[in-house]
């Protein structure tokens, strides 16, 4: 009996000698991927599928027959995104493989100073979303559109303008008409800049005077309207 066991142990040793290293690891379930049912059939591959191991029901995987060297490990999964890792398998089998983070598009060499624990841990980073939501028709949303608001405002102003101009101080009205005329003449002459400044309120000094003179008159307008109403 002991002889048989010894033979078995001998064979086991023989296998480890002729086998290359075996890499193991697991998938850490999280909110992006809660279990193996969500993950589906997935596997962990090294490099260009030189070696691979399927992820089992409990999230573990074993990649057998890995020769010494540096590899990029990635998870082949239909719906989930995982980070890639750099795995360094040492030539001596007694020391475990070294795991370090690797971002696609960054140099693999030199190795990142951060060392990750072994066995390898893969964390689902994201569940892929393939669809964009269909924009449904929404009246409220339609009226929230700035273009729509401008149109409505314009329409309202068009209706309200006669009343506004009627109640406006004649001096102010005259001034507005003047600046408008200036703007039109500037436009006709092609001097867009001075036209815009004219519309904005003429030169730098003028607005100050206008505001100074207009404010009491404004009051008078208000007073007058109040009087009229009364």
């Amino acid at each position: 009996m002991t002889r048989i066991l010894a033979v078995a142990v001998l064979f086991a040793n023989a296998y480890t000698i002729c086998f290359a290293a075996e890499i193991s690891g697991f998938v850490q379930w999280n909110e992006h991927c809660a279990d193996a049912i969500q993950l589906g059939h997935a596997k962990v591959v090294l490099d260009n599928s030189v070696a691979s191991g399927s992820i089992s029901r409990n999230g573990n995987f074993i990649i057998p027959d890995v020769a010494a060297g540096t590899y990029v490990a990635s998870v082949v999964s239909h719906d989930h995104v995982f980070d890639k890792l750099r795995i360094d398998v040492p030539p001596e089998h007694d020391s475990p493989p070294e795991v370090s983070p690797y971002t696609i598009g960054t140099p693999l060499n030199p190795r990142s100073p951060i060392k990750l624990p072994y066995p390898i841990k893969f964390v689902p980073r994201q569940r892929k979303s393939y669809f964009v939501p269909l924009q449904s028709f929404n009246v409220v949303q339609m009226f929230q559109n700035p273009m729509m608001l401008i149109t409505i405002f314009g329409g309202l102003m068009m209706l309200a303008m006669p009343y506004v101009t009627k109640n406006l101080d004649p001096a102010l009205l005259q001034e507005a008409q003047q600046s408008q005329a200036k703007f039109t003449s500037a436009l006709q002459s092609g001097d867009l800049k001075s036209g815009i400044t004219a519309l904005a309120g003429g030169d730098d000094i003028r607005p100050a005077i206008t505001t100074a003179t207009s404010s009491p008159s404004n009051n008078t307008v208000k007073n007058r309207t109040k009087k009229r109403r009364t």
């Binding site: 260009n48 089992s56 140099p107 060499n109 393939y130 669809f131």
Partner: protein, 1003 residues
Amino acid sequence: MRWLHFFGLTLCSTVLALYESDVGVVDWHHPLVGVPLTSSLNTPPTFHSIPGRPPTEALLLTATSSNVLACTAHLSLSDSGTAWRFIFAPTDHIIHYQQHRDIVVSLSGPGGSTLRTFDCLTGQLILEKRLHAPHTDHLESDDVGLGAAIAFIPESDDVFALTNGRTVRRIGADGAVRWAWESADKSASVVYAKLVTTPSTVYVISLTKSSTSKTLYISSLSTSTGELVASTSVPLSVAAGPSDVLALSSDAATLIPRVVWLEAGTILSVALVPDLTEKHTSVMGSAYTRIVDIGLQNKGHFVALTMNDTGRVLKLDVDKLKVIWEFTDSGKSGRHADSLYIGGLDRDGFPYIGRVFWSFVVRKASAHVYAPHLAAGQGLVSGFTFNFDTEAHGIISHVALHTAYVKEVDLLPYLALTTSTGAVQLWQGDIVQWTREEGLSRLQVAEMVELPEQKITAAHTVDERDTFVERISRQLTDAKELHLYMLNFVKRFVAGPNASTQKEIAFDSLTRDAFGFRQVIVTANDLGKVYGLDSTSGAILWNRVLGLGWAAQIGGQVIPSKLFVVRTIADGGSPEAVLVAQRRASNGLVDTVLFHVNALTGEDVLGKSPADEVLQGVDLISGPLLEAYQLPGNHKAVILLDEFRQVYVYPETPANERALAKAIGKLNVVLRTGLPGQRQLTGHQFSNADVGRPTAFATWASSLPAGEEILSVIPRPSGPVASLGKVLGNRTTLYKYLNPHLVAVTTASPDTCGVYVIDAAKGSIVYHVSIAAKQGRCDLHATFVENWLAYVYWEEEYQWVGQTKGRRLVSVELYEGSKPDDKTRSSELSSHSNKTLAVTAIEQSYIFPHAITSITTTSTKYGISTKDIIVANENGQIQSFPRLFLNPRRTKDKPTAEEQEEWLVQYDPVLPDDAHRVLSHNYHVANIRHILTAPALLESTSLVFAYGLDLFGTRVAPSGTFDVLSETFNKAQLVFTICGLAAAIMATRPMVRRKRLRERWYQ
């Protein structure tokens, strides 16, 4: 200008976005599992009852030629949905699977190097364990399935696995090896092939492979320790293969397992006891010619054929084997084909033995099912005939049996048939429950064919002499259709553009939709079947079995080589397709056969084969085919080259022969010549012979280095080129290099992979790149269209600081001359001109996110829309990558105003892996081998059909649907706005009127 740039990017990322409501409307997916492996008894379809569930909820498990372990949904469903499937790696062949309780165990790889266990119901992987290195030192490549076996003992989930022909392990449910035993005999000729278990002992039975050594070795091991108890050898008078030796066991503890073999017409058997001291005994009675394993070895039953092929059922009994039944009239006869014998179990584990055969007399299939335990142990046989459609499905190659609803005098058998054309059918008695066309998983060639327009009701011939009354009455009759027209108009307004292709179109009216999205995909597989599929749903419109011609007597295989559309709707009449195939007869003779079908109906255009019979082809070349091409121009004739480089034209009409004679001087083709391992590319031109057929003669030969193997030759598609150049921001033009003779070639040698672009007219290399590869592993995929070559490969080199290994996509654009505004008119240039090599290649490499199995570009009617890349990746997705990101002229720095005008984006080495561009979204589209793209009637849209293990179809609009109102276009908002404006006008009209009136009064 910046906004334009951003607008471009946003446009690019949104045009292809998928809406969830489009799923199943614009796309379809047919998951398949592959054709069941019926050649070995370790992998064919078998039924499995689920403990504690009704017998109709049994599962059908199978391993397939596509290397998939699959389980179809339970039998009571009329639909044949796949419950689960596990796709093995291409090098990891399934060689054995077995179900035990609620798990399925598989052995795969050479000698069964990997053991996997799955949950029987959900298909979840429980355990994956490498048992030995995936190379077998003493198993030859032709018998990879040999030397592996699985056995169980009752009341335990431990697996006894024999692998590599000599090692037995007991493996616990957690994957721990409880013990391992290896045969001391290391000689290559002894291969252990069978395992028999009893609760206390495991018997390992070996066979010798060589014809000189004729011995059966049996070893007995203890189940608990793996200790060798005894070992013996039995000399045989004839050499036996694995199918000639059976190992019978039974659940009943009183029955001792026996090894059974046939020797000189006598069935011999030896009882298996732990100390292996028993002597062999023979079965008395008539002489036998063959013993047949019916899958009931562990229930102690098998079938033996007598001298006249009559089937007898034998059963393991106490101390002997016993003949319990003889199938009457099962002997050799001209009235029926050879019988298939199969065993099955019911839910309670009782065995049933079935015989299925094809009757030439009634032209139906018959099944006899024998139940040994029924009728108070006397046995009961139930027989029925069923209407198996041999014209559509070929012949029955395998049957699996399951029995449900067993009563004392009746039973309800389920038969799962696998046919020679790759169909799997489930029959409940004589009613077919479902048919799965698994032959679609082995498609080799495919083409899309446009459908004709719907026939408009014959227009009236307007007669000038019509009287008024006649005209009115005619117009009134026409007006009858008005409401339909109105209804259709409203429908079109309310529904989106997708509505035109929705399933409401009846299948029998084979007409195209408004935008040409509906086409017929003509396709053929290597199992001798040609199909017509609907491109909007993937439904099979028609299918025909390809006839073997003279080889029908001896058997053979028709392997499709090429498929050409020789007549389109533009030529008038029904579209036609020609399938060029090679027929390999069983005697080794190879012929080239052409099948000419109507693409809409599958009818034989030549009228030789009626619609309900197999499609017979035309034997054009008595020998293998070298290459086949389609003649450019309007004639669309097929030209074929035989091994002596003689040119054949099909159809052999005088018009086609004249067209060939006219075009023959301008044709240049590239052929692969030389022995395997020393292949070269040789350019050929054609010459008209005074007598006999025109021949091809070599004009140049490539000088590929020794050992460089040609992987693929990718011709440039002859689609329309919308623009001959690219106008740059500085108003100069880069003219596209559009030499019509270009081909792309990918090669592999032990340490490098190569990509070439070669001028087929004179063999000059226009572009060449060499990529370092490890051990000749060239995972290289390329696509070539217009002046654009894109290839994906694995970059191995990372040793220098700053380097990284990973997958790369290289985008190469070829332009005329050496600088912008150089123009050589390459598309019209004579191949003798020196200017053909005045070419500049602009290339850029990108980091590509996934490994791919196929790559192609979109194709549109006029070639105006952008050409995106479509790939099938290892994640089981069909994904598109926008051309904008693949522009090799992307700037290293922030783009200047001029560059922004060209829509150039700043270079980023990583190509974004955008999930919104996964065309196949939630579908798992597995193992795609090829993607076919075809133009629709709309310039914006390209149809996509991907085939491999699965089939997938969709359509894409790489530049957005600029020629049709977008699906997202808000019609409601448009209507609402118009109504609002109308209301505003109505409200303001009286106001304006009043105002005008007042103005007139007070002015």
